[in-house]
Assembly symmetry: C2
């Protein structure tokens, strides 16, 4: 037996020195979802959501596994746990409710469950007619071990079972199957009894987790309030809010609230409201020097009146702003404040904290540049400064200051030009105290940079929607945003226009073009916004041919808008936003499904609530100039009107155009549509299966 005793003690690797249990933990857990970048970032969910977690869990051999999900809110000390249910193919699922704002932590745990294995095997043995004397004794040992782990209430119950398993009885009252072919013996009768769910439930109360495997990474979900998922934004320059050409004030904005609310918006987004720098101030149409009386750009922040925590005097006082906040709240709306972390040359920070800025060799402060372009009116912060800790503190305190005034939504200007780690720290810091705060990332930049900002904590993000016009572009882009992993961390907010961007489509599409882009933004995503009144009044003139800048951009001058103009889209916008409010299917983004059409100018997509109670089908003519018609190939299952048990062969359903008011009875999966841009370039149908009862017929009373 020389060879049998041969050992290689000398070469035992380090891993052997682990704990007595380690080598006996046979369960493995993989592929846990949701999971962003290996657990580096949380997935995003909304208060009240059912948080669904899935995992692959398995062990070697044929033993049965038990798998649970441990989870807790970040504020809780103790883990809760819930059973994971097997879905087949070694996939398991559990869910819990997002009952509080903030972060939930979770981690699956699995172990080889010898009692469960024993029970399943016992059933197979009985069915095969085998004798089970030994098996009852094995089971008795397992139940006895469970009794040792049990609480005082459960223990005696389990001990009764141990006695029964050790002493099989021929009690004629035991419930055993009547039709088994094998002669019933006391052992078999007792075994059938031991398959009862009562015993299984008792043992499950005191599982043996000695050899349980925990998933290696603690994963997390960030829970935001509903507004992070469903919001309707209206951007407005307060200084243009006066009825005459004078500088508008917060009070003027108050007067406009009914106008904005009538259109159905719930977030009023204001460009920066801080004192505007005078040094190097830009004039109308972005000319390098301002004349006396030119108001300057609100993004040129800071002057002798103060910086990021002060209010531009011509808009009013901090008290006026607080009153506006209250008035907005009374209208069931919220204010979103624009925070742009940059300074005009006369910002107090420049004088008080020169160490936060980069110096040029001539001693001047480095202005913003994207060579060869120079922005001498803007000083960026130098985040590589040795004083970065103080800089971070001060910048975070800006957000905290406005939160103290009552603001809960921030639109952050150009976050991609400040370090990712700063945002991650700042957002975590703010949300630790104020988990209801929402941050919108205005990063029009490369996709991976935009995604990173979303992952690290921004609640919503601007998108490329503004430049996606054709059917394929829109479908591809929206599908990218609503597919894993992007949908788990990136909440798109679609903007047909912004003060910086008057897209070519709007320059040339006329009134129907504005309607098309608004309808797309409002129904493709559940978060969208417009920059008004430029939008509803269809301002379409660029600064120069080929430019996306507005002529007479409000960024540099005060504009007067005739809000009562007959051709205003305010009525149309109000109708679309009312449809959004009334149809929960439109209050999510990830539920969008596209349907094929045979005309490249016709885009069709639908959204349904998870329970199928609300289904909306949108059909858009993307060509603002011509009537377009064609066939839509509808995915009836996506519309909830496919064949099922009660509707086997007739696929008949009602579509009701929530915009135009018409009702159609449609059959089957192909439908003809025709849209005239000069009338209404969009259908927003509510879809419902036809209630097929006698009451549907007209002659029925």
């Amino acid at each position: 037996m020389r060879d049998e005793s041969r050992k290689e003690q000398a070469t035992i690797p380090k891993e052997r020195s682990r704990s007595p249990e380690e080598g006996r933990k046979r369960a493995k857990i993989e592929g846990v979802e949701p999971q962003i970048d290996g657990g580096t970032f949380p997935a995003k969910r909304i208060l009240g959501d059912e948080i669904i977690v899935e995992a692959d869990a398995f062990c070697d051999g044929h033993d049965a596994l038990t798998c649970i999900l441990r989870y807790r809110h970040e504020s809780e000390q103790n883990w809760r746990s819930t059973d994971m249910e097997p879905l087949g193919n070694d996939r398991w699922r559990a869910s819990f409710e997002a009952a509080r704002l903030g972060h939930y932590l979770f981690k699956p745990v699995a172990w080889v469950d010898h009692f469960k294995t024993w029970r399943l095997d016992l059933h197979k043995r009985l069915e095969a007619g085998q004798e089970v004397t030994q098996e009852l004794l094995i089971g008795a040992d397992l139940v006895e071990a469970a009794a040792d782990r049990a609480d005082a209430k459960t223990r005696p119950l389990l001990q009764e079972w141990v006695t029964m398993l050790r002493h099989p009885t021929d009690d004629p009252d035991l419930p055993v199957p009547s039709a088994t072919e094998t002669p019933m013996t006391p052992s078999r009768a007792t075994a059938y009894h031991a398959l009862s769910s009562e015993l299984a439930e008792l043992v499950a109360l005191c599982p043996d987790r000695t050899l349980a495997t925990e998933y290696g990474t603690e994963l997390s979900v960030q829970v935001d309030r509903e507004k992070a998922r469903f919001s309707t934004w209206y951007e407005l320059f307060p200084r243009s809010a006066a009825e005459t050409g004078r500088h508008g004030t917060f009070e003027d904005v108050e007067r406009l609230l009914p106008y904005i609310k009538d259109m159905g918006f719930d977030v009023l987004y204001l460009p920066p409201i801080h004192p505007i720098g005078r040094m190097k101030r830009k004039g109308p149409n972005n000319v390098p020097t301002a004349e006396d009386g030119d108001p300057g750009s609100p993004w040129g922040i800071g002057a002798k009146e103060g910086g990021h925590k002060a209010v531009h005097p011509e808009l009013g006082t901090l008290d006026d702003f607080r009153r506006l906040l209250r008035k907005v709240e009374e209208e069931d709306m919220e204010i979103a404040l624009d925070i742009a972390l940059q300074c005009a040359p006369d910002h107090p920070y420049v004088r008080d904290h020169p160490e936060w800025f980069r110096k040029r060799p001539d001693g001047s402060i480095q202005y913003a540049e994207n060579p060869p372009k120079k922005y001498q009116d803007i000083y960026p912060f130098d985040f590589e400064t040795d004083a970065w800790r103080e800089l971070w503190d001060e910048l975070a305190s800006i957000f905290l200051f406005w939160i103290e005034q009552g603001v809960r939504i921030f639109r952050v200007d150009n976050p991609h030009t400040k370090p990712f780690d700063f945002w991650q720290w700042m957002i975590a810091r703010v949300r630790a105290e104020h988990p209801d705060v929402i941050f919108l990332s205005e990063a029009f930049t490369r996709p991976k940079v935009m995604y990173r900002l979303a992952k690290l904590g921004f609640s919503q993000s601007y998108t490329y929607f503004t430049w996606r016009n054709s059917k394929d572009e829109l479908r591809d882009y929206v599908e990218t945003l609503t597919t894993e992993p992007v949908r788990d961390f990136f909440r798109p907010n679609f903007w047909p226009n912004t003060p910086d961007i008057l897209p070519e489509y709007l320059q040339t599409g006329g009134r129907p073009g504005f309607m098309v882009r608004l309808a797309l933004a409002a129904t493709l995503t559940s978060n969208y916004g417009i920059y008004g009144p430029a939008f509803e009044l269809q301002a379409a003139m660029p600064a120069r041919p080929g430019s996306e800048e507005y002529l007479h951009s409000e960024k540099y001058e005060i504009r007067e808008w005739d809000l009562d103009r007959a051709d205003s889209l305010r009525g149309f916008i109000g109708r679309v936003n009312r449809i959004r409010r009334e149809n929960p299917a439109l209050q999510e983004t990830h539920n969008v499904r596209f349907h094929d059409t045979d005309n490249d100018e016709i885009l069709a997509y639908s959204k349904a609530t998870r329970d199928g109670s609300n289904v909306v089908l949108v059909v858009v003519n993307l060509d603002p100039h011509h009537r377009q018609s064609g066939w839509v190939d509808l995915d009836l299952d996506a519309l909830g009107v496919g064949p099922d048990d009660t509707h086997a062969d007739h696929e008949e359903y009602v579509v009701h155009d929530e915009l135009g008011g018409e009702r159609f009875l449609w059959h089957g999966s192909r439908s003809y549509v025709e849209l005239r841009p000069d009338q209404m370039p969009v259908h927003i149908f509510r879809v419902s299966r036809r209630a097929r009862s006698e009451a549907d017929f007209e002659y029925y009373m």
Copy 2:
């Protein structure tokens, strides 16, 4: 300025206490590939491969990034590094050679490169006609800092540049663009000079990595020898190797080596060669009790003659086995040994180490079961034993024992019924000393379990190929195996038959059926094997109708095979294996591309080497009973014969059937094929672009 000084020192989160650099590290690295399960497992590569690593790397703002890849072989102390090249869209790539067996570790590193930014911006400024006096001084500071980091050789060269940048010259010899519109000044001339690659290369020698970001996880690649990727297996029961009915020996196997080598196999795989247990030995056709003289199953391991480190006496001695190993090596083949970690009841382990087995209540040892099936002839190890450390040691020592005899390939029986952690530890332990050892996992079980075994270290894996017969099944399955992430860790080894599995297709397909399955296995994957001589002699009779067991399975009895039978497929197999050896395209698996056909019985796929020098197109008639014909829609780019610069509009190419010998001149992407199973059910074409010179024409001499 009350609001400016407001701070929230009380709520500063813990992260603020990090190192002075931490908050200033602006580069981010994500999405590094290859990466298996967040770096938990290595990706697999072959000696000599170019290991390609890609990563997303970016920073905030407009600064330029430098990105390098640090890597080292596990045996090396110091990291090497190589530049990563930008691919666009923030993706970077680098590669290094897999020059040694074992593991390579790698980790991208990125940092904001201020000199690179300065240089790129300087170019833009000059092109825009700007004056650059300040920029030269900024550049001088950057170069001076580089000089401070430089070695003694580089420092003076950099210092010369500093002087030049600080004192611009109007040296007329400076190379400046002649056609610039802006008047040349000393500063501009010096700046043009500073754009030279010489300065850039000098500065790149001494980068500032103070604020460099390392990717958070050290990733790894496992490098195996070529045989792990390209191997051709022949399984043989040595006890059936004698010419008459007597028990075959290792010496008989030696006599068969020319026969096996002629067929083109390079791995001779032997079922377990250990003493076979006598207790509960199974008889022919798996009957529960053996008669005297029944040889028993080689997988019923262990008897009084010894266990897993002994040789079954009727096969010969350990010396005989060593001589067989040498003879096999002389034929440029290798032996693969089957290791089945289980015991017959009379295995010495059972007597010497009862603590490694589970006891039943009656004191007997628990035999293998999959209720209601009982395998009383097999005792499984109890891996939950308290003595698991000693058990692991002993089991590892089995592999090390056979490695000491010269074995370098193991086929592991049912690894999925032993703990994953044991395999991971054992394989790591063996490969730490013997990185040339190859392990084939015989786990016919659920996909995630099979994948886990591959991830944790098995070099090759059995697959579901045996049950994939239709065109869609084969295409879907092979595409799954050759797509990320599976292709990075799972190397399929296709077997048309095994001693356990005589699939229905072979039972009913006749000789053409065997040819089809062999051709598929041999050309779809680069690792394949057959169980012979049952295969080449087309043994097709199941133990009973509906069973996949062989009648008179060699697992339980000695068989006599007439190797010289006229209808043997040895010639066909030899030709197919010769084609595999001669066509490097067939020596990889991941390069397979499927081509559409209009007949569900015709499967077409191609493989090409990375450099395109070898292209093979395989067309198979999956129907072994009928002539099938149809059109193949060829992807000409995959075949390397699509239109390109020199072959703009004529797509004409030669396909040479390496099996049948015919040559065809094909045009365009649609080709007609017809395959008669009674003649040859398969084309294996070598594809080459037609050399279009006068020498191609027949009348040219």
